[in-house]
Symmetry: D2
Subunit: 371 residues, 4 copies
């Protein structure tokens, strides 16, 4: 259970890191969207290992195959199955982590829950699972862009203590992609890169924060009371490996403000009702208000470090363990496309829900009543 | 849509603030749990208006009636319907807010989504809706306590800039309930109370942070990959009115740490695998690890303030609006039982999911394989 | 679990026959539909006991109260809560059926599943639960009629061995309602009534078949592969008390035909693609084809009879039991509005799903490609 | 949407008949079940084309690959992905059926719903999709057999007018598999085979009925009120291609009986509460009662016939069409394992739901109260 996300645009991911393959099935994608592997592969490449010296040098080309749901270059409205073969299966020696619980990994909790786990490369707990989300998110992003004019961009806003304020209204994908750290501010990017390199050399790891903006969403997306747009975004983000927090708009910082400081006043921008400030982060009462949706996600430092740590074995003996192999000292650069993908999955699902509520012939009914 | 929460223990809330009544239906509560209105009413009283001079003086006794699902003092396993009549319906004059969009409220977004809304007391957008969650949460809390020994306690951790560090292992409900502000630290509580009173006198409002701990959860609750325990907690919390952020364990602060600083080493405590520190917040890989689950929720300042603000009317004219009536200058004290309720709803749902996976006759199978 | 039906238009029913009340909550009804209790009560009256000498003389006025989701006579898009107080609670003496399992009732299976049950009036197993479905179905019917021009009519097609062939294209509600047995054929109706009266005098009961037609559905409703329109109709019908079978279009009879006899040839009716025959029952490949949807539902004889039967007690002793009180000798007349309600709930849910898929701005995309 | 089945044991199928591949993902299968391709392949072989002269001679070996969810021969509790490559892709000439709507097929309705379809081999509407169900069902069957002792067997009960009464208590798989028609009665089987052969020679097709029994289910499976066991069985069966009806226990025939004839009296069989007759079909009030569950499914004649039929083209012109190629004159023999698979999927889902409700530590609570 728990491997499916969404109510109308539904994604199911599957696969262990070093099993036969990993993949995703998207059900609920509307028909007649132009789609090919060329729409998906670039997003996977942004997430792939080995793309820069900042990230793990593990070798996985993460090449996606589109197995269903598309005919003559267009979606059919039927499930879209995407498969990514596993190449780097060096499952050579996993006997140590099969036996010893890696601190702050999910080895122990999987054993406690299931009574078993696949230790090869972390099995299902590997962040490799997020490749399936990125593939599905690429479809969601295209649908949002082409049918609603929505653009989603995420960026590294902080690594360790090195942070930068970016304006969610203007951050450009090109600026994000300019450096391997994916921070759009060149100066901050340089300092972040230096910090990550030093951290890796020290066999250590470091956390940080990713910012994300969705621009161009129409008002009306989001379902009160439980399926508020920000609630589903929070769920999507906290479902990502290594995340420890989520905040939208003014977030934790805004809790120190008073109402007079925090409220977003309305004004008229031609026909559009807009807010002068956007501390709400584009969502009010769980529903998008037409302003940019922006939020931030906290990532802890990677759990795998090249230092000896005390731990416990599967057979309940105290022992020690030292990380080996090729790991990311900082997950953030590779997590940027994953955050975008999850945001897209949440937004497209709510877009379809709103179509169901007020779409088609009912749109006119609604239009009449709201001037 | 969006008014139901949970996969196996499902809650549906309904009702507008000044409509006929509000209520909740719980489906999936196991049978043979002793239950009466006396189990539910005290939790509603903690959330009710008028309980202290710090909160709104609106008069709603919030008296719950148990209409189904219970026979001779025990649950039947059938849906439990709970109804709370609306008393204070002074819908006297809502013509102004029927017409003018209150800044940072959901008036505009409801109109944009539905083409209509009930303006009386905020209708469905009123925080009064959370009474239904508290009623359902009271059942979840009892089930968690009686069948699993789980205890949930939340507290006000910060108001504006006045914060306090509380140890999630030891915060006691009695200490929380000692002051009307629901901060267990007496000194901080006094300063918070003074701040809230000053804020109210100024016709203003103030935000803050609620901390919450769930103690006694067994390892194994939570469903990777999308329905991680922290993902569902994040969703539950961000589905509450006025929330802007969620963090678990080390949260945003932990993102500045390195792996050597952040990792939770394992050790043996008798038969139990435990961690020396708990920066994970009781959850690893989306699954509880047996340590206390602790998280924090950010609440923005109440949107209603007694100051004139610029806004826009339903008929698209720029105008001004000034709050009137009886509102909370700070939602936090009344939000404490609501946070507990949502945490309970998330946890009990995952408890039942784990029963499905490894419960009953299968428990033995699992037991055998994990030493 | 199991008390909610629908994916986008969701109904949750609750309540025991002789508990505090029964009711239903509808989530997902679009806004701006004119709705009041006057739209719902007539449907409940068709289902109510005591409406004729053919049905139980139990006294329940089944008066519905609309508690939420409606403002100034129109739906809000928020949950619609409907409550039906229980009046006839003569729970006087239920000690016998609390102890003895009534043959072909659910007393034993409830005990086996839940370890408990409410014996008063059958508790949750009472067909009284269907009043909630009828109330919800009344809303669905109105939405289907006003927004899609769909009309649903059910009728008693057979009682015992007395059957009649009715043309699903033409059966009129007025003809159905003309007699208390709800068979539109006057002659068959008279013979059915005589059979039911004789059956009641004999302290016995009798089964039968209800036919149902939904006319005016556009092509395109229904979701392959699991949520086929006929699959959801079958589920809806088999979820009704006392049902033992469902068939659509040619049904079981059609299984004796060959392909040349059974296939529905297409022809053009102006712009419309139509079929010359309708053995498909209005559904092909799980999707409506624009022809009338028609199906039949088998109801067993009422389990309660005034004859002594052998049975077993809760404390595992063999014993005998004889029905007493006021029961329906034949459930069919009262089941007619219930079948209509379930059909409406299925259809409206698929109507909304199709809006999500091809509604709103996407309709144009689809239109272009299908000539 | 609509490509997922089940609440706790969830199956998603994907794939077009002549696309890249077809497959299924199972989420929710408990861990530690021994599983390999050898458990699945034999069931696929029973469904495969070309297995006898009675069925289509299309060449698809339907070889399954297990891509995830299994480690060292046991399930992990993570999603099980199964892939079946498409071999026989002779998509040679589909231009005719791309343009002309085949009568009683889903060509027209897919176009009406989606504005597009994959015409090669019927695309998603091909019964080939059921291979994914059979693969998933093989896992469900194994779980039911090994953990609950439940055995499921289906058989051809009628072809055209040639029917046979089989005792659901005793039909043996070996007898079913003895003949290519899958009717356990040798004499009837011979006559059915002759009828199917004659039908094929005539370029025609013929319908029939499949019976199915699930033996060994404990009491307590099934969730009233909407998710009754028979409701989910009905949905599962009517979700199969070519089905037109479902009946359980006494079914349509039982509607002619009176209550005294129909009721199943209880008696004690040692400690077990049992019924002397089983007109209920093993389910009472939506919950299994411990007797054998038996039901029947109506299949229409295959729509593809080698006769010229009148129809309409995609560009809205009247035309004619004559079937060609390799099709089944009678779907029933190959549908037998599919019916078993769907039954297994329904039952295992309810088994898990009941574990959630009364499993684990709660079992004892329930046990105490039911004597």
């Amino acid at each position: 259970m728990g491997n499916t996300f969404g109510h109308l645009f539904r994604v199911t991911t599957w696969g262990e890191s070093h099993g036969g393959a990993i993949g995703a099935v998207v059900d609920g994608c509307p028909p007649l969207l132009a789609l090919s592997e060329a729409d998906i592969q670039p997003e996977l490449d942004r997430r792939a290992p080995g793309q820069s010296h900042l990230v793990t040098q593990r070798k996985e080309s993460d090449t996606v195959r589109l197995l269903s749901g598309v005919f003559e270059g267009q979606t059919l409205g039927t499930p879209i199955s995407m498969l990514i073969p596993n190449q780097d299966q060096r499952s050579g020696d996993y006997s140590e982590i099969a036996e010893k619980y890696r601190p702050s990994h999910a080895d122990y909790t999987y054993d406690a829950k299931y009574g078993t786990r696949d230790p090869r490369g972390g099995g299902r707990t590997s962040a490799r699972e997020t490749a399936g989300r990125v593939a599905a998110g690429a479809i969601a992003k295209k649908l949002l862009r082409e049918r609603y004019g929505v653009e989603i961009v995420a960026w590294v806003a902080r690594v360790g203590a090195i942070g930068v304020e970016c304006d969610p209204e203007t951050v450009a994908l090109a600026d994000v992609e300019r450096t391997p750290i994916r921070c759009p501010d060149p100066d901050a990017a340089a300092r972040m890169i230096a910090l990550v390199e030093a951290t890796r050399k020290a066999g250590n790891s470091i956390g940080g924060v990713i910012g994300c903006a969705a621009r161009g969403c129409p008002p009306g997306w989001g379902e009160p009371v439980f399926d508020r747009l920000e609630a589903d975004l929070a769920k999507g983000m906290l479902s990502l490996p290594a995340t420890k927090g989520f905040e939208i708009g003014s977030g934790f910082g805004g809790t120190e403000l008073t109402g007079t400081e925090h409220n977003d006043e309305f004004y008229l921008d031609g026909d559009r009702v807009r807010t002068r400030t956007n501390r709400s982060g584009g969502v009010q009462g769980g529903i998008s208000n037409g302003e940019s949706i922006h939020f931030r996600v906290a990532f802890k430092p990677t759990a795998t470090i090249m230092h000896e740590q005390r731990t416990v074995s599967r057979s309940h003996e105290e022992t020690t363990l030292k990380g080996r192999g090729r790991h990311d000292p900082c997950v953030l650069p590779r997590a940027v496309p994953v955050v975008e993908a999850m945001a897209a999955l949440v937004l497209v699902d709510h877009a379809l829900r709103q179509e169901a509520l007020m779409g088609g012939r009912w749109a006119a009914v609604g239009q009449r009543s709201v001037r």
